[in-house]
Amino acid sequence: MTVIMQAPEVAPRLESDAEIKLCIDDLSVYYGSFQAIKHASLKVPENCVMALIGPSGCGKSTFIRALNRMHDLAPDVRVEGTVTLDGEDIYAKDVDPVTIRHRIGMVFQRPNPFPKSIFENAVYGPRIHGVRSRKRLMEIAERSLRHAALWDEVKDRLDKSALDLSGGQQQRLCIARVLAVEPEVILMDEPASALDPIATSKIEDLIGELKKEYTVVIVTHSMQQAARISDYTAFFLMGELVEIGNTRDIFFKPRDKRTEDYITGRYG
């Protein structure tokens, strides 16, 4: 099967025939002088869902934001180590973060649709990347909204404000917005944490669909969610990548005592 990883004493190497999509090597992230991520290394194979779990404040959000250079937006954050996408270092000097974010999309914790119409939200990406034709934009909007399982609910009111949608619909719109850009990797930072159970299960079903075409890395605070949707799971604790493996293995036979403590609920 697959995967991942490294730091020999933490976990054995799992062989994979899948292509490695993202390869993170010795990644550290600092907020000022505080080191939020400590030398994490990890490989993400293509067309799978990888979940990042850990207690709040463990650095999983910080980690995922390093994967499409979102930290560039904050002045006092420093990233060390390498992240490669298809073998190409995204932090290399001549690489433009904008192109990287085009290829690696991101869905955030709270739905953040722009204060525009549903249609304009869906086609925001294609528009900024130069698509002009109304017909083409309409096709993209329909395809990505269908893909995000939102089309039937909004097809009659595409010109209404996206802010009128429910929280779950807004989040699916945000996913549609990312799909419209046709990225290769989709990063999700606790995409269901602000949603009710029904909306959450819709998002989870959607993620299962998405991995057919995309590589998905998802941060979640819910172990059940990680168990339901992911192929691989990485466990973070206090900025350290403790363990990584097949989701089944992580949950049923964790190798690290700390992982086991967390899985069995000892960290709350």
Partner: protein, 302 residues
């Protein structure tokens, strides 16, 4: 309970009563201060209305001013006030919003940013009469434009630049960080994010701020006396678009008739002009609010 009511607590009860009295007294004073401020404004508005209303007529609002005889109007002055306001906004809005965007979205903390900030703050405290003298040196003396609408407008451009930059920065601050992240995460450049998401989301407070500043520009006086001049028609029509013609505004006219002019009906002109100026302030304030509300309603679809 009985144990508590010892002799010692009589003193405590006493100070508690004193504290309550003091509290009522002081909060009462604060209420009085606030209410008297509202009263003051209502009184001003009422008084100016009382003085000015009898003066206002179609003739007064549309006729040219008179040099020596009574019966002059303020038509060209109203026109000039709007004309200079228009020119000023034309120059100051792009520069100030651009500067505000740079400071809010692009600038990283450092020497340059603190220098810009210090200059903006200093610029905003320079007395407008001093700014007027600077405008005179540059536009009247150096450029040989004499007193001109454009000279006045450019002086007001510099004068209002820091306030409008501030308004821009504050408007941009109201836009949630998540909008920016959402756009950037879709592969938008910073400028695309600003132009397509951030600015449209900030349009309501931005518009409100610009209209409020427009109200101040409309009433600005000291910076215009020595730059746009105190006359409306020297060798040209009073209502033309001549950038290089003298352009006395309404507020300048109010000051000028009082302090320099020889017409006998100074009081009447002053009362009427004061009323028109006050009404314009109210109009700008109300439209700023209505416009802001309408825009934010359209934006959120609610």
């Amino acid at each position: 309970m009985a144990m508590m009511a010892t002799a010692g607590s009589a003193a405590a009860r006493n100070t508690a009563a004193q504290r309550r009295t003091m509290n009522s007294l002081m909060t009462g004073l604060l209420w009085a201060a606030a209410l008297s401020m509202i009263g003051l404004l209502l009184f001003f508005v009422g008084y100016i209305l009382y003085l000015g209303a009898p003066v206002i007529s179609w003739h007064f609002l549309t006729s040219p001013p008179s040099e020596v005889a009574a019966g002059g109007g303020i038509g060209p002055e109203i026109y000039n006030s709007f004309y200079i306001l228009f020119l000023t906004l034309l120059f100051t809005t792009p520069i100030a919003t651009a500067g505000g965007i740079y400071l809010q979205e692009y600038a990283r903390p450092g020497l340059f940013t603190s220098l810009v900030q210090f200059c903006a703050e200093s610029l905003s405290t320079i007395p407008s009469i001093v700014m007027g003298l600077f405008g005179m040196l540059v536009f009247v003396d150096l450029f040989h434009w004499s007193f001109s609408a454009i000279g006045g407008a450019l002086t007001l451009t510099i004068l209002n630049l820091p306030a409008l930059m501030r308004v821009t920065q504050e408007a941009l601050q109201t836009v949630p960080r998540t909008y920016r992240e959402g756009s950037m995460a879709l592969g938008a450049t910073k400028w695309q994010t600003i132009r397509r998401v951030v600015l449209p989301s900030a349009i309501a407070p931005l518009t409100t701020g610009i209209v409020l500043i427009a109200g101040r520009i409309f009433g600005e006086t000291a910076a215009l006396i020595f730059t746009a001049g105190t006359s409306v028609s020297v060798g040209h029509s009073a209502y033309d678009l001549g950038l290089f013609h003298q352009a006395e505004t309404l507020s300048v006219h109010l000051w000028y008739t009082h302090s320099e002019a020889v017409v006998p009906d100074v009081t009447k002109i002053g009362n009427g002009s004061a009323l028109v100026l006050l009404v314009m302030v109210l109009v700008f304030n109300i439209s700023a609010r209505l416009l802001g509300r309408a825009l934010s309603k359209r934006l959120t679809g609610k």
